[in-house]
């Protein structure tokens, strides 16, 4: 009987290399085979992708503000120039 080549504990550490296309063909096939048998790692992958998508969609307005003096100086420079 064939032993599984990739276990969950390895899947979660190799998944980024897989997504980035950095695995060898053998490694890639082993990882993809694992995905076909493991609903939990499939869920894990879905969450990983979702968190990236959320970050991409999470807007702009929620990010940190620049220091007020620096911001003010830049806006003044823009006003002088335009």
């Amino acid at each position: 009987m064939r032993q599984p080549v990739v276990r969950c504990v390895e899947f979660v550490e190799s998944v980024t290399d897989w997504m980035e296309g950095a695995l060898t063909d053998d490694e890639r096939v082993a990882l993809e085979e694992h995905l076909t048998i493991c609903p939990h790692c499939t869920e894990y992958l879905a969450q990983l992708r979702l968190s990236s998508a959320v970050l991409r969609a999470a807007d702009r307005t929620t990010r940190e503000a620049p220091p007020p003096e620096a911001r003010q100086a830049l806006l003044e420079a823009f006003r002088r120039r335009r």
């Binding site: 980024t16 968190s51 970050l55 929620t62 420079a77």
Partner: protein, 216 residues
């Protein structure tokens, strides 16, 4: 939340900048200042020097937007100015860069998932014992409003190199080669940093999916 297609958004933004629209320039500053600061910080000796470089970059944008020819995106153009200036300054300072080794960004022992969540023994050792909860995975945009700001907070707690990579890749949507070039790191380093950072973002998301509306 802005859902305008980035290209259309950008053409309009360039036109507004040229027309002297201060709100457009303020948008640019608010949107990119923090990310620029972290990119610059990788090349120069101090936080103050990084802030100087960012300030100079925005001044160069004010001066140069008239000549900007849209052969690259506005963002790529701005970051190219930033990285060039930061590198020049860093070289003048004889700087050793903080991300040049993985030291600041990666703990060798750091795991994507708590090892206790896998079976330790038996035939199924290394398989999940406490798998991620199967959730009806919501649509990203819908979820972004609820959990997006929490994930951005998680980013703030990451080591600087991981934070820079995650911001550039997943928040800004830059490609791996672009990020390697900006941060002067190898492709392998970029992947390790991205892996650590994404693993942590996923853990935060899982906590939220397991307990939406709970105390995070």
């Amino acid at each position: 939340m802005e859902l305008v297609a980035p290209e259309a958004e950008e053409t309009a933004l360039v036109a507004r900048l040229r027309a002297g629209d201060e709100a457009a320039f303020a948008f640019l500053v608010d949107r990119y200042y923090g990310t620029m600061l972290r990119v610059a910080r990788n090349h120069v000796a101090s936080a103050e020097a990084a802030a100087d470089v960012v300030q100079e970059t925005f001044l160069a944008v004010i001066e140069g937007v008239e000549r900007f020819e849209a052969r690259s995106s506005l963002r790529t153009w701005m970051f190219r100015i930033l990285v060039n200036r930061a590198k020049t300054r860093g070289e003048r300072e004889g700087r050793t860069r903080p991300f040049s080794s993985l030291g600041s960004g990666v703990d060798e022992e750091e795991r994507a998932v708590d090892p206790d969540r896998f079976l330790a023994e038996g035939r199924w050792a290394g398989f999940w014992s406490a798998p991620p909860p199967a959730a009806n995975v919501p649509e990203a945009h819908a979820l972004a409003a609820e959990v997006g700001s929490q994930l951005l907070k998680v980013i703030e707690t990451l080591p600087p190199a991981q934070r820079a990579v995650l911001e550039l890749r997943d928040v800004e949507g830059l490609s791996a080669p672009e990020v390697c070039e900006m941060l002067d790191i190898s492709e392998a380093n970029q992947r390790v940093l991205l892996h650590r950072a994404r693993s942590k973002a996923r853990t935060a998301l899982e906590r939220y999916l397991g307990d939406p509306g709970g105390d995070h």
